[in-house]
């Protein structure tokens, strides 16, 4: 294990799929140029093999539904006075609107104007989402 800057106030998002931390920040609308962030990418985890960890200083909350969509197996630790005071799990919303876009070039969302990007939870066990229109699995 490598030593990483600890945070005194904020949140730690652990068990983020390896290599996806920047994408996850993007979907969470956290601007890495403004927030104080520590990223640990491609570290080893005995549970998941390789993983990323995101630490965000002075952040009180994170959109757990968006996190459920982009990193369903992540865990969220809320840190106060350098101690973990709360553990949160991502929520898996049944439906998500305009968070991610369908990657299927044959999908109607690729050509129809002003269309909402709609995904539904197709497998609660794996956290898999599929496009409402074409049933293609969500890709981040």
């Amino acid at each position: 294990m490598m030593e990483v800057t600890s945070i005194s106030e904020g949140i730690i998002i652990d068990h983020v799929p390896a290599g996806t931390a920047l994408k996850v920040l993007n979907y969470l609308h956290i601007d890495p140029t403004k927030a104080t962030i520590a990223l640990i990418m491609n570290t080893t985890s005995h549970r998941y093999g390789c993983k990323d960890i995101i630490k965000i200083q002075n952040s009180a909350d994170v959109d757990l539904e968006v996190l459920g969509l982009v990193a369903p197996h992540a865990t969220v630790d809320v840190v106060k006075d350098s101690r973990i005071v709360e553990k949160q799990k991502p929520r898996l919303p049944e439906h998500v609107t305009n968070v991610i876009s369908c990657a299927n070039p044959r999908c109607v969302t690729s050509s129809e104007r002003d269309i909402d990007q709609l995904f539904h939870l197709s497998n609660p066990d794996t956290g898999e989402y599929r496009c409402d229109y074409c049933d293609e699995a969500a890709k981040l």
């Binding site: 299927n104 044959r106 109607v108 129809e112 104007r113 409402d132 229109y133 074409c134 049933d135």
Partner: protein, 336 residues
Amino acid sequence: MADKIPPVQLSKSQFNLVGRSVVTLDDVSAPQISYLLRKARYISDHLPEVSQAAAGKILATLFYEPSTRTRLSFETAMLRLGGHVIGFAGAQNASVSKGESIADTLKTVANYADVVAIRHPKEGAALVASKSVDIPVINAGDGGHMHPTQTLADLATLQSRFSRITDLTIGLCGDLTFGRTVHSLIETLCRFGNVKFVLISPKELKMPQYVLDRIKASQSCTYEEVTDLTAVIGDLDALYMTRVQKERFFNEDDYLRLRDTYILDAAKLKLAKPTMAVLHPLPRVNEIATEVDSDPRAAYFEQVKNGMLMRMALMSSVLGVKLPGFAEDDTKEVRA
């Protein structure tokens, strides 16, 4: 929600498709499918009686890509119910070529028509259409994604040949990887249960895992995967043939070698039960030899007729028009 409805209304409401769009067969419950099968059978036996049932109603066929076969089926279905038809075929249509959105086209057409059948090359186009308007929209194929009335035609053909769609051994042969019609048929039959699927394909074109998982999840349905049609044809009640397309293969030799293995001809048919039904979504290329056409087991042209009958049953149901003499509620017939 259903338990709040008084029991006397229950059977009526469970079949009620009035005003409903059908984008996929998930939009239609298993009892509603049974109801449509019974209605199609009634229509088949009572064409003169139902010939004015939808008088004054207008179907719009919005075909963004040509599919003459499907369009003629929808249009004939409406005409045989006494209704009228408007529409366009092919994207040469002026508004479409000017880049009008599907939603805008539908909002316009909804002022003219009572029901829409839409065919579009993009997957999910029918959902977009159905969300745009209040009138019922029927998916007539959205880019190889869903084609629910084709599956209804397949079910009606099994029903007319065997008087049931359960307790059958059904072989599906050819391209099982990309053939969405067979995926949809299997998924729908799994909702009714008690079907043994025999999946006959080259190893390059096997059934996708998600369809196999669907069969496993159904409890009463089972499957086996084989590569040799002649070895299993004698066990089958029905054989659903699909096209093996050249472009699915990496090289010409594989294609030519495999193609002939999956052609149904009189010699292979000799090994089949005398009551077996041969289905095919049509158009065929060469996967069923024309010598099979005159065999009573060939059911693929009946399938075309059943497609029209099911479209009549479906459109009369979503329009909410009554068919003279048809008992909406099955149980009334039993009591009478």
